[in-house]
Assembly symmetry: C2
Homo-oligomer: 399 residues x 2
């Protein structure tokens, strides 16, 4: 049998995936599982997107332009302008989700062996894209005690080497929910300018900001246009992860020209998804106001409940729909499996994401979990009761 | 400004893409351009697929399973069974077109520096995927004088080295239309078995077989299940390139388990496209009978017209919707640009694909073009008249 590749061996497997069979077994036993482990919003997809499919008028579902349908890219420019981000259609390549945008950015900007700095915990799939591109991730730790704020520039400088080519941030952050401030982004601006690095910013949760806080985009950092690559997606924004429409955006012409060669090699982003995404651009502001009110109430529910549990530490983040919390347990990989395999509370249990998958430093995050608040408030309350009961009866409790 | 990557520099640009601005200019001048340069079928997408969108009933457009929606994979198994290919849903990963399937196959099976043998001319984007994965293509020439049939095993053996890991074939072939015979596939079977290689077979044109010829799939080669990876797509089959739904298929469990890690890193193939593709699985046989009759008539038109032109050589291939023809010109890159930039025949001209983009050997294919017969017979007749007139007035004519 021919061998598989080294990269194939090295590709990480998500700790969440390993739990899926245990969740399926629990369900077979009649246990209701509250899924707090996923990044799939439960809110209804805007009607305009579904209507775009209902009213589809094409004879042939054709390839689109490799950079995406021009009318959609123009609408995207209007969307960004409303967020005070001013770009042209040629600064955009429409991609199959943010996933493909990250892949294009890494392939365009980094050589195998190059290093990329990411504050951890970070979105688990960055590990996959790094492995796939043969790039090394250099993590710097954001501390739960400091609400997962950006580590100081001195921490970045400790790991910068001649092989360092880029920094990735996700803002608001998955998995911590942390919303970076203007001052923190200024620190990044100075760093990438001083060391001539790329800054890849994943801003797919741009609208998900609470407590009246607003989002500052890396696209508005001054004097670093050539360093900035924006990774974006409509998946979370419009509760439409399945359409697989993201974008890679940069004002660096050489980066975009090169990324286009990768885009052309895969011919076209999904056309149906683009039709839906274009229709979504007219989603009224009221959709987002309701969404923000709903997620804000959910976050309050979860953060309050967690901090009322003995030994649990949970910051109160301003963005996205995740929190990363510290639990008084030996090992959250074990605890999360036990929740599904052995525990129930009135025939109910919770599925959480062990945080180890969001760290690249071995052993980091061993007592942390990511909780996605993608259920309604009532369900979240019940889920939190389950978790509280579970923490009391788990044998690996550290309190 | 930070540098772009070496791969980014090395990514090939298709010679067709370079012609696009010239085609746009020609159109601005009021010239009608017959597009024989593309692989986008013009036939109507089956009604069932459009209806699936019109009847879309979902509250949220969610991620699908990373390997694809299970009901779609089951339907795919039924489709394959009708073609005498017997597989299980777990042998399938649904991908964003054949493009992503090739990417997964190469990343799963080959290390950077490994070599892959491809009979040339070959589908131009294989170059892109090879560059992207850091893999070397070793071409072996299929000759126009031999109708682009498979080179003998001795030609493969001349280029096999310890670094050789795979062979790719496309059957029926893009860009030659050649349909490999059972005997030719047996030669490949023996070769991959003897040298322990993977055989990646791109069979996206499976249904496009003419003159009563039938397609033999690599999935039915005996005793080499672990060596075979099938690359497939519904794009051409159902004239629905824009849905971006393909698949990577293998009975090799380790290959599929590894490919799943790459699939999980990009979360999900497009859901809307999968809904459409699932509906397509019920497309009646009559759709294909009509399609084959239509393409067969088109091929006859093009092949006959070409061979009636002085100095033109064109085999009569049995599959796909392409021919690769030799023209009596100095350089088809120049000729194809001249067709758009300087020539017109009654305010009409043709856009062809220069064949150099389909060869990896420098200089090969310099006097060949690929012609896609994706227009109706009347338009093809006019397009061929344009081409004949052009060949007579082109200054770089070699006759």
């Amino acid at each position: 049998m021919p061998k598989i590749s080294q990269k194939g061996h090295d590709m990480p497997e998500s700790p969440i995936r390993k739990l899926v069979p245990f969740a399926e077994e629990a369900k077979k036993k009649g246990i209701r599982v509250f899924h707090l482990n996923i990044g799939q919003p439960d809110l209804e997809t805007p009607r305009s997107m579904i209507n775009a499919m209902h009213n589809l008028k094409v004879r042939v579902i054709e390839y689109s332009h490799s950079a995406g349908i021009i009318s959609y890219r123009r609408k995207l420019c209007e969307y960004y302008a409303r967020h005070d981000i001013h770009i042209e259609p040629e600064d955009i390549i429409v991609t199959a989700g943010a996933s493909e945008a990250i892949l294009f950015a890494v392939q365009t900007c980094l050589n195998p062996g190059d290093e990329i700095i990411i504050p951890e915990p970070f979105y688990a799939n960055y590990n996959g894209f790094a492995t796939s591109a043969g790039v090394k991730i250099k993590p710097i730790i954001s501390k739960i005690e400091e609400d997962f704020s950006l580590p100081p520039i001195s921490e970045f400088e400790k790991v910068i080497t001649p092989a360092t080519k880029a920094i990735i941030i996700c803002n608001p952050n998955n998995p911590t929910g942390y919303l970076y401030s203007y001052d923190e982004l200024e620190v990044l601006r100075e760093t990438v300018k001083k060391y001539d690095l790329y800054l890849f910013a994943d801003e797919v949760y741009r609208e998900f900001c609470y407590d009246g806080r607003s989002h500052f985009s890396v696209m508005n950092l001054k004097g670093v246009d050539d360093n900035i690559v924006l990774i974006d997606s409509v998946s979370k924004r419009y509760s439409a992860c399945g359409i697989r429409i993201g974008s890679m955006i940069s004002r660096n012409k050489e980066v975009m020209k090169t990324a286009m060669k990768f885009a052309q090699a895969r011919l076209s982003p999904p056309s149906l998804g683009q039709f839906a995404a274009e229709a979504a651009m007219d989603t009224p502001d009221s959709y987002f106001h309701e969404m923000i009110a709903e997620y804000s109430a959910r976050r309050n529910t979860v953060v309050k409940a967690l901090n009322n549990m003995e030994g649990v530490i949970c910051p109160n983040p301003n963005g996205a729909f995740y929190v990363t919390a510290r639990l008084p347990v030996d090992d959250t990989d074990k605890f999360c499996q036990w929740l599904l395999e052995e525990f129930d509370y009135d025939n109910q249990t919770v599925m959480l994401a062990p945080a180890t998958g969001f760290y690249s430093t071995a052993g980091a995050g061993i007592d942390e979990v990511r909780i996605s608040y993608v259920l309604n408030v009532e369900d979240l309350k019940t889920a939190m009761m389950c978790l509280e009961a579970a923490l009391k009866s788990y044998s690996g409790r550290t309190l």
